[in-house]
């Protein structure tokens, strides 16, 4: 028993001291304002890696609890395109369409989404849009868009890799759908 305790102390103490010193430095950064919180320069590589990977894994884990998406129709894609144009395009742009000029001043920079559906499943896209992403500027849309609206946005994002700039311009040319205009989808 005593031997085990001795071994634990011998191996554990240096680790505890090491972790404590990292904690002290971390607290020092928090308390002294040494960490630069301006948005005018990109994240340092380690910060970008940690935050992006954390978000990716959290989305992948949480999206599994959603039920399967509805079958998407061409009408859903068109409705999603209008909702996208009215609410999302300002930050995310579109095929041949730039974001608002001030969006380049955000850190992290909101991505163009032309291949978003190649990197995320429908459920994951729904999770990101409906519940947002903390500390990125991505809002949760659950207050202003219905679940139906968000699924239609997902339908649009799924169709986006096959849309040309002209297709996109046509799809978004019609009257934009104001936020919250969607009808509740019956399950």
């Amino acid at each position: 028993m005593k031997r085990w305790l001795g071994l634990l102390l011998r191996l554990g103490l240096p680790w505890a001291a090491g972790l404590a010193s990292v904690g002290v430095v971390g607290l020092g950064v928090v308390l002294t304002g040494a960490f630069n919180t301006t948005a005018s320069t990109p994240h340092a590589a380690p910060i970008a890696w940690v935050t992006h990977l954390t978000m990716t894994n959290a989305v992948k884990r949480n999206a599994t609890q959603l039920s399967n998406p509805p079958a998407f129709t061409p009408a859903d894609v068109l409705d999603g395109a209008r909702t996208y144009d009215a609410n999302c395009g300002v930050c995310h742009g579109g095929p041949g369409v730039a974001r608002a000029p001030w969006v380049g001043g955000m850190t992290p920079s909101p991505p163009f989404l032309l291949d978003a559906s190649r990197n995320w499943t429908s459920k994951e896209l729904f999770w990101i849009v409906r519940y947002g992403v903390r500390m990125t500027g991505m809002p949760a849309w659950d207050q202003t868009l219905s679940e139906h609206d968000v699924w239609n946005l997902v339908a649009f994002l799924k169709a986006l890799p096959n849309m040309s700039a002209a297709d996109y311009a046509r799809a978004t040319a019609a009257q934009p759908a104001p936020a919250g205009s969607g009808l509740a989808r019956t399950p």
Binding site: P14, W15, V22, V29, P46, G93, P101, T107, L113, A165
Partner: protein, 126 residues
């Protein structure tokens, strides 16, 4: 160093390196004749070029919408149309819609100087 100290010491050193890596990237302010590749690299992150292009040395730049910009300095043509020279590349970055109307790459609001900086970065990729 005794073996039982080695693990914690290495961990603390790694943490210190990580903190050091979080420091501000340095900015070159000296006006240069051509574009400044360092400023170009920062602009490429800010303008989210990596959402559509694979760009070596740029964070999160693994988009596969447009062509990968790997080894761009060795590329012969830009958009299959313009000879790959720094002024042509800056022109393409500034107004891709004027050169190939209806292509997926948008005209973004950049100054000619900013476009030249981005071109200068791409021309460093061998």
């Amino acid at each position: 160093m005794s073996p039982r100290l080695r693990g914690p010491v290495v961990a603390v050193l790694l943490a210190a390196i990580a903190f050091a890596g979080c420091a501000q990237p340095s900015h070159r302010t000296a006006a240069q004749l051509g574009g400044d590749p360092e400023r170009g690299a920062v602009l490429m992150v800010r303008e989210a070029c990596g959402a559509c292009h694979v760009i070596p040395g740029i964070q999160e730049a693994h988009g596969e919408v447009g062509p990968p910009l790997t080894g761009f300095a060795r590329r012969t043509m830009i958009a299959g149309l313009l000879p790959n020279t720094p002024p042509n590349l800056a022109r393409w970055i500034l107004t891709p819609q004027a050169i190939v109307p209806g292509n997926a790459m948008p005209d973004i609001e950049l100054s000619p100087r900013e476009a030249a900086d981005m071109a200068a970065y791409l021309e460093t990729l061998n």
